[in-house]
């Protein structure tokens, strides 16, 4: 029972395919969502798909590198930062305009 072997008998292509599917679902969400919070949710899905790929490549290399996990930590940190600032902006917009429809936000348009 090789508990510590990398994804015992799971090919790396499975993880990469799941990452690609998740990325495309997030891309779809970015295109169809109107509310700004819905777009933020889709961005989290996109970042998550990238993280899956990073960790998979880090673990499946012949000599496993820790950099995959380290960069995923940084991506998660920046995702938290991005979500905080994005939601603060959304709340501010909601307070000023009483909606968060990304198509109708035009206060900064020329």
């Amino acid at each position: 029972m090789a508990i510590h072997s990398v994804g015992y008998a799971i090919p790396v292509t499975w993880f990469l395919t799941v990452g690609a599917m998740l990325f495309c679902i997030g891309l779809f969400g970015m295109m169809v969502r109107r509310s700004a919070i819905g777009m933020l949710l889709s961005i989290e899905l996109l970042l998550n798909a990238a993280n899956i790929n990073l960790v998979a490549f880090g673990s499946y290399l012949k000599i496993p590198v820790i950099a995959g996990q380290i960069f995923t930590v940084f991506v998660i940190t920046l995702a938290a930062a991005e979500a905080a600032v994005g939601l603060a902006i959304v709340i501010n917009i909601y307070r000023n305009e009483q909606h968060i429809d990304a198509d109708k936000i035009s206060a900064m348009k020329l």
Binding site: P64, I66, T72, L87
Partner: protein
């Protein structure tokens, strides 16, 4: 375990279940008109991704995923939804905008990515590796963070501080009233 002539390991069964829940709840995230339910499904999707990390022999990443993504980011998003609650009362046609075109574009993107994945030659040796693989556990992550990656690590903490201050300043209610 042998099913229909294929040799199936428990790891593969766990992968299929976790990946299935991840993808299904991700689809819910982008398709549900009620944004609060979408955020809940985002939490489920991220939680099952933590299981995928555990399958990839990255226990630290699984813990970080549960603590930061599921614990912090999802909670923050749900709180923001509560603060802008008008979005909860809209129908599918108002929430989802031009789905067919977007599905076509996303499908093309997936086709491209999938063909790239399938047609590339990946390292085979690590996949079949049996013995314990060192250098991927929590002490290794700690050493990497404090030795070669200490500068980006400290930079990340500075960024988090700046973001904390910035988010408070942006979201703070204007007392004076001038914009």
């Amino acid at each position: 375990m042998q099913i229909l002539g294929f040799y199936i390991t428990g790891y593969q069964v766990a992968f299929v279940i976790l990946a299935g829940i991840t993808l299904a709840s991700a689809a819910m995230v982008v398709l549900l008109p009620n944004i609060l339910r979408a955020a809940m499904f985002l939490g489920l999707s991220l939680f099952c991704t933590a299981g995928l990390y555990a399958l990839m022999n990255a226990p630290f990443m699984a813990a970080v995923q549960v603590m930061i993504y599921v614990g912090a980011i999802t909670t923050m998003i749900i709180l923001a939804i509560f603060l802008s609650n008008r979005v909860m009362r809209i129908g599918f046609a108002q929430a989802i905008y031009n789905p067919l075109l977007a599905a076509g574009a996303a499908g093309l993107m997936f086709l491209f990515l999938f063909l790239t994945v399938v047609n590339s030659v990946w390292v085979k040796s690590a996949v079949a590796a049996g013995p314990a693989r060192v250098g991927q556990d929590v002490p290794a992550v700690a050493q990497a963070l404090l030795q070669p990656y200490v500068f980006p690590f400290e930079l990340a903490s500075v960024i988090l501080l700046a973001v904390l201050v910035g988010a408070v300043v942006i979201a703070k209610e204007d007392v004076d009233g001038d914009s």
